[in-house]
Amino acid sequence: MDNVSSIKFFIPELFLTVAVIAVIIAGLINKNKNKFLIPGMSVAALLGTVILSFTQYEMGMNSLFFNMTVLDPMSVFFKILVAAATIWIVLFSLQQHMKVEYYILLLITNLGMFLMASANDLLMILVSLEVVGLSSYVLAGYYKNNMKSSEASLKYVLYGAASTGIMAYGMSILYGLTGETNLAAIQQQLLTQQPYNLTVFISIILIFAGFGYKIAMVPFHFWVPDVYEGAPTPITAFFSVAPKAAGLALLIRFMTTVVGHQLAPGAAEWLQNMDISAPLLIAILSVLTMTLGNTIALQQKNVKRMMAYSSIAHAGYLLMAFVVFNKEGYAAIMLYLVFYLLMNFGAFFIIHMVAQKLGSEDIETFYGLGYRAPFAAVSMAIFMFSLTGLPPLAGFIGKFYLFAAIINGHWYWLAVAGVLNSVISLYYYAGVARAMFLVKTETKDAVSFQTFDKILIATLVIPTLVFGIYWTPILELTMRSIKLFAGN
């Protein structure tokens, strides 16, 4: 579809772009007189984007801007997910009184993630990854007078730049093999020409460096603990969910076009384009990712750093479902991401609130919190057990569908490794609950949090509890969304 007729399928992104400009101008005029104007505008812009994206479910499947991006239900699902995640982050940063740039960068990152979710061309993948990357580097170092924050941003930018370079090299090889940059065209070329397997495999591994870096996959995870610990906590929560979700959207599209092709038009199964055993590679990487994340998380004393390793482990669980190469696996990933957003945001927000009041993120700070701040402590325990995957919480349902998908695909050893890892993770998640409720401390004075923060936590706790019992609406949404655009 040409540029002019594409515009009517591109309205959420255009709306967001206009909102970014409006926020910049409002920030110039406002001069910090009204503290709630800029966050209010950002939330309104994001809410508008979510609503506009919902209307796109009815628009069917199209390829836009000469096949640069696509509009399909899967991209719409991920757009709604990342925009909703950003709304929570903006609301949660409200108490910090961040400057205007903070909100502008969040909105630009959001735009980049929208493009990541719908990218259908090597060029678009490269550009959208850089848009997200460059604004994330600055956000990680937002407290520029804080040494930890600056260090986080330095490590993020160095690893990010290197992995983008390696990914671009892989893309150049893929382009050389096929002579095409469009993902669907590359698929066609791979199927008809059948180039040398090893070269394709190497180029796919090099491209995985870029995706793996975004979703915190071993062996591209080195930046995660330091960046997550040093960055401002709302931004850490953001990194752990939103760019990861967009990276997974990109990976799903890459797996279904460059690595695999649909068995028949509209079929639920994909076959590999080349004989390169990509499922085995992903299975090994996912086991490594979750085992490394979980075992190192056991030794952590700082809860924020522990959550960083836990987020590596969760990247491993999410990668597991890629091995089966069918709609069931991709739907399980999308379902798990929704629940992961709720519980991970909740956990990071409570760590943030506690650190604001008591001045530290160490596990000692949480001792006896069950008696000093019951609401926060009970919510934290719920999030921790949900992250472990215990019933009747949302995390259990998410893990149930992930494991069901891989067991239906006969990957039994992978399922066993995943279950064993969940057992390991129970130790450190329950350790936080134990610190809050079972450790007696000298100080008994109550810690009071603001009502606004409590309401925000409630918006995350209630869905975590409700979706553990009644998850049909989310399941139906993911089933409706798992339609991918294939072809030109």
Partner: protein, 101 residues
Amino acid sequence: MISLQTYLIISALVFIFGLIAVVNKKNAVGILMGVELILNSVNLNFIAFAKYVDLSIKGQIIAIFVIILAAAEAAVALAIVLNIYRYRSTIDVTTVDLMKN
């Protein structure tokens, strides 16, 4: 007439030199120079393939975009390095280790 292989060998060499610089350099600016080498090898690859394989301008357009991305990345990265330098008076990345398990 220079063959495609010549371009690919040079580009692979530049890529490997860049990778070695990224892994071995202690100076943050040195690492960024390694990244620039990697991106230049990517450009060389794209342009060579556009000339010999594709015979269209897709590869050349990507190369232009990669140049722009490299410039943007260098701008952000140098600002971050400058911020580190202001507080530590050094940009040796091995000394930047406040956070360890």
